[in-house]
Symmetry: C2
């Protein structure tokens, strides 16, 4: 059988746009001689619509779209993903379903069995699990249709305090009883740099275990925080990856199961390049899917805003990025110069506003109330917040969306000013530890010095008081990042982290900072997710707690 994989970028709730794209690819697959074309999980609605799924109107539109798409399946079959109403009088209102379309109609439906409800996944909130299994017979072959997590019944976890087998049922155990010719897995599996290989291994193991080829179809594109990386594959029954589609780009391919042909694999790419590509896609889709064009941010001369602005230019074009340089009396000359050089390297519009006069005015007005107090964090925050006002004024006046430049290390320990430098529509580096920000800068500069060398090599500083350095209040980033990674991504206890060779007091001090700053992260912009545990809706900590 000739099976086409359509790896596409969908917009949540854009039934018209998504359907049109699907129908175009049905027609293309037909032209290419395919018998069947397969799209990814919830392709009709976009993944994941969250509580839009609770709106009757939304589901009605999804149903209409499925029927319209079905009408286009003449002389070709298609598998698409959409929600389906649970007709039983019990259970959740919906199933997360794969629709098998042929002869202009819905031929059969397979519902998702294993509903991931952990980290960023929340599917049991809306969906009832499937309990009935069957294969689809089409052109003399038996197709086992599974939906994403359905193949993930054995799940290696980063956190040792969790089970490998999260579910009571194994859909493949059930489906293998029908002796399928091949498995189709329609998926919506987000990128995370430290789960590389893991996803492929799950598929390889299933192909081997059940001695059955697998078509795995992922989506690409960003949906606010989540970045889907594509990389759809066809794996033969021996567990060999024979075909691999692009990463971070739409792609499609027809595979003839009777005549597999040459291997087609993607070039191996370093982690930092993947993160770079993921973030560029994350910015681009945030803007384009919202109908925004232009971005702004404050350039400090430091490395975080430097990397952010380069990613923004790559995502949106230099003509759509406009920055402010906002020195104070504590800004070093080279900071302004580094920021200026960078803006000119990128050929973007920039203006300089010195914040000192408004900061002085705030301090004068507050002086009668602050008599007898000493200068400190309050005054530092006033500077950061004055900058926040200026850059938001540009945003409001000209319609540029503010990009937040906070990195994951700062964000973790609360080294940032709420309503100041924590402002922004999307946090570009909020899931990127500082050491990785350095690697991104080096990667960006690999051919030409875009980011001034000085921004990369100078000791990081917020420049909110004379001669301030980040290391005045934080450990060296090399150590800080390792402590944080073990706590946040690996869920290790203070004792286990100390055992890695860190000072016990330092570990406790860092973890206390993480715990105490939940309230800041609660009010932060959505964070582009590139790791297995990002700040945001995949990590829910109680704010009011004694722990």
């Amino acid at each position: 059988m000739k099976v086409a994989i359509a790896q596409l970028n969908y917009t949540i709730g854009d039934f018209e746009g998504n359907s049109e794209k699907i129908i175009q690819h049905i027609n293309k697959a037909k032209t290419d001689g395919a018998d069947l074309v397969v799209f990814s999980e919830l392709s009709v609605t976009g993944y994941y619509p969250h509580d839009l799924l609770e709106k009757k109107e939304f589901i009605k539109k999804a149903e209409d779209a499925v029927l319209k798409i079905a009408q286009n399946c003449i002389g070709i079959a298609a598998i698409i993903g959409a929600p389906k109403i649970n007709e039983s009088d019990r259970g959740k209102q919906l199933f997360n379903s794969a629709f098998f379309l042929s002869d202009g109609k819905i031929n059969s439906i397979q519902n998702k069995t294993l509903l991931p409800t952990y980290d960023i996944f929340d599917e049991y909130r809306h969906f009832e699990p499937n309990r009935n299994f069957d294969v689809v017979e089409y052109k003399g072959e038996k197709i086992a249709i599974t939906i994403c997590e359905d193949l993930w019944d054995e799940l290696p976890t980063a956190n040792e305090f969790a089970k490998d087998k999260l579910y009571q049922t194994s859909p493949m155990e059930e489906l293998s009883k029908f002796d399928p010719d091949f498995v189709v897995n329609i998926s919506a599996s987000p990128f995370s740099y430290n789960q590389e290989g893991w996803r492929k291994n799950v598929l390889i193991n299933k192909a081997k275990k059940y001695n059955t080829p697998i078509f795995y179809i992922n989506q690409i594109g960003a949906q606010t925080e989540l970045i889907f990386d594509g990389g759809s594959v066809f794996i033969d029954k021996n567990g060999d990856i024979i075909k691999e589609l692009k990463y971070f780009a739409e792609d499609n391919l027809v595979i003839d199961t009777l005549n597999i042909g040459e291997k087609r694999l993607q070039n191996k790419v370093e982690t930092t390049e993947k993160i770079h590509d993921a973030l560029v896609l994350g910015i681009r889709d945030y803007f384009h899917k919202m109908g925004f064009k232009r971005a702004t941010l404050g350039l400090s001369g430091g490395i975080d805003s430097a990397v952010t602005v380069v990613l923004a230019v790559r995502a949106l074009g230099a003509e759509n990025v406009r920055v402010l340089l906002m020195p104070s009396k504590y800004s070093s000359d080279h900071s302004i110069e580094d920021a200026r050089v960078l803006a000119e390297n990128l050929n973007i519009q920039y203006e300089i506003i010195n914040i000192q006069s408004v900061v002085d005015k705030f301090e004068n007005e507050l002086a009668p109330l602050f008599t007898g107090t000493s200068t400190g964090v309050t005054e530092e925050n006033i500077q950061a917040r004055a900058r926040g006002i200026y850059v938001m004024a540009i945003s409001n006046k000209f319609g540029h969306i503010l990009l937040n430049t906070t990195n994951k290390s700062e964000c973790a320990v609360g080294y940032g000013t709420l309503y100041g430098d924590m402002n922004g529509g999307i946090a570009v580096l909020g899931d990127v530890y500082k050491m990785e920000v350095f690697r991104l800068a080096r990667f960006i500069n690999k051919d030409v010095e875009v980011i001034p060398e000085n921004s990369i090599v100078k000791p990081p500083s917020a420049e909110l008081r004379p001669d301030q350095k980040d290391t005045d209040s934080l450990p060296e980033y090399k150590d800080l990042d390792e402590i944080l990674f073990n706590y946040i991504e690996q869920n290790k206890s203070p004792k286990e982290i100390t055992a890695l060779g860190f000072d016990e007091n330092e570990v406790h001090r860092v973890l206390r900072m993480v715990n105490m700053n939940e309230y800041k992260r609660f009010q932060m912009a959505p964070v582009l997710r590139i790791s297995s545990k990002a700040f945001g809706f995949g990590r829910k900590m109680p704010l009011v707690a004694k722990y």
Copy 2:
């Protein structure tokens, strides 16, 4: 049997404090002659610990606390709630369990079957559902132990697009086979003013259906957004409520099943008074459980900040509340006067800072960039953000936590400035529609005029430009609130809302404002929840979507 109900206020993760409180009440119940004392769901950890449940260390501490509490059950039995590790090699790592303690040890354990995973509930994220049923035999009686949702297998929903029967299993159907003498339901059921009666009806119907008395034990106290109202009850087998514990306060009571005695019911209280009490408790627990004492906010002379400051004074005491009055050139004289009178009525510290000089300075500095543009929202936002800086400066300098005063109507349509008046540690009125804010003001003033009459009767205005009124950009609040309630709480479609008698264009305009402002609410402070659908983690809408 003599059963004591212990309706207490727990702090999440405070194993020491919670255990101590539980042990005290075990001893008290023993002194009072009880055979059994019952505490609420997850009483040992506090409800709900969210992803703290993913930490091995956290679960270990819970286990230790359960054992310690068990040792205190000599000559009395107790039922407490805590997580328990799932020993099977499959499924989620934990159960949400009720521990029956007697003779100094854990006598038996009943796990929760129905795991609410909708709205603010997220239990399937962490817990495996129970599949085994049994009763506990104690002193010759058979006790059916259920945990909260276990009795909610038939669930009337506000949203017609959802099923009454959300689950495949009915724990009471299973447990009734053992012919129990009575049912215990340990619960953590949050307050919502528009689900009054609903909770009692579920219990009454179960008692009647199974012809069995029910002890229902709720917790009280606020956990960030969620406010638990208590109101534990004993219902006889005829479905009559015989005993009812206090609302919004700790309480305890011994009930002799062989000698029920007089009815003890709470006085009926109007909705507005309940909301008032809920918000005061919400503020108080936010501060006390975090170890904070003092609050600040900006008093504008308007009704939202007026109601907020009164609630804060009632929660924290006048000596712990300090406000800023921050007029601009657009502030009317009476606004400042109204704010001043209110502050003096409340006997709280207040200072006046005119924001005009910093606002002028910002505008001067931006003038070269803004040449040729007309004055508008940008300039209004600068005012709101300048106020934000001043009030945060007070917060940072003196350790007062900023209270946010945004009401639910504003919050819904995005009528507020991000990083300006949307600042704050907790949003006191974020789940209170404007019309209810008026009722709260009237309730506060019922005996003495605390809030100046003028703040209540004048047309609401943000006072960010000359003669501005809220109705310049919004419908009358009476209409706005009804449209919003039907959309947010009732999940009605635009068509259904129009059919209630509203202008179609007006409905579409309002709903578009709601949908377009998800991004503002995403970055907002946690909202004290008093309704069945509050903004916050109980309502998850995708930010990037075309719908």
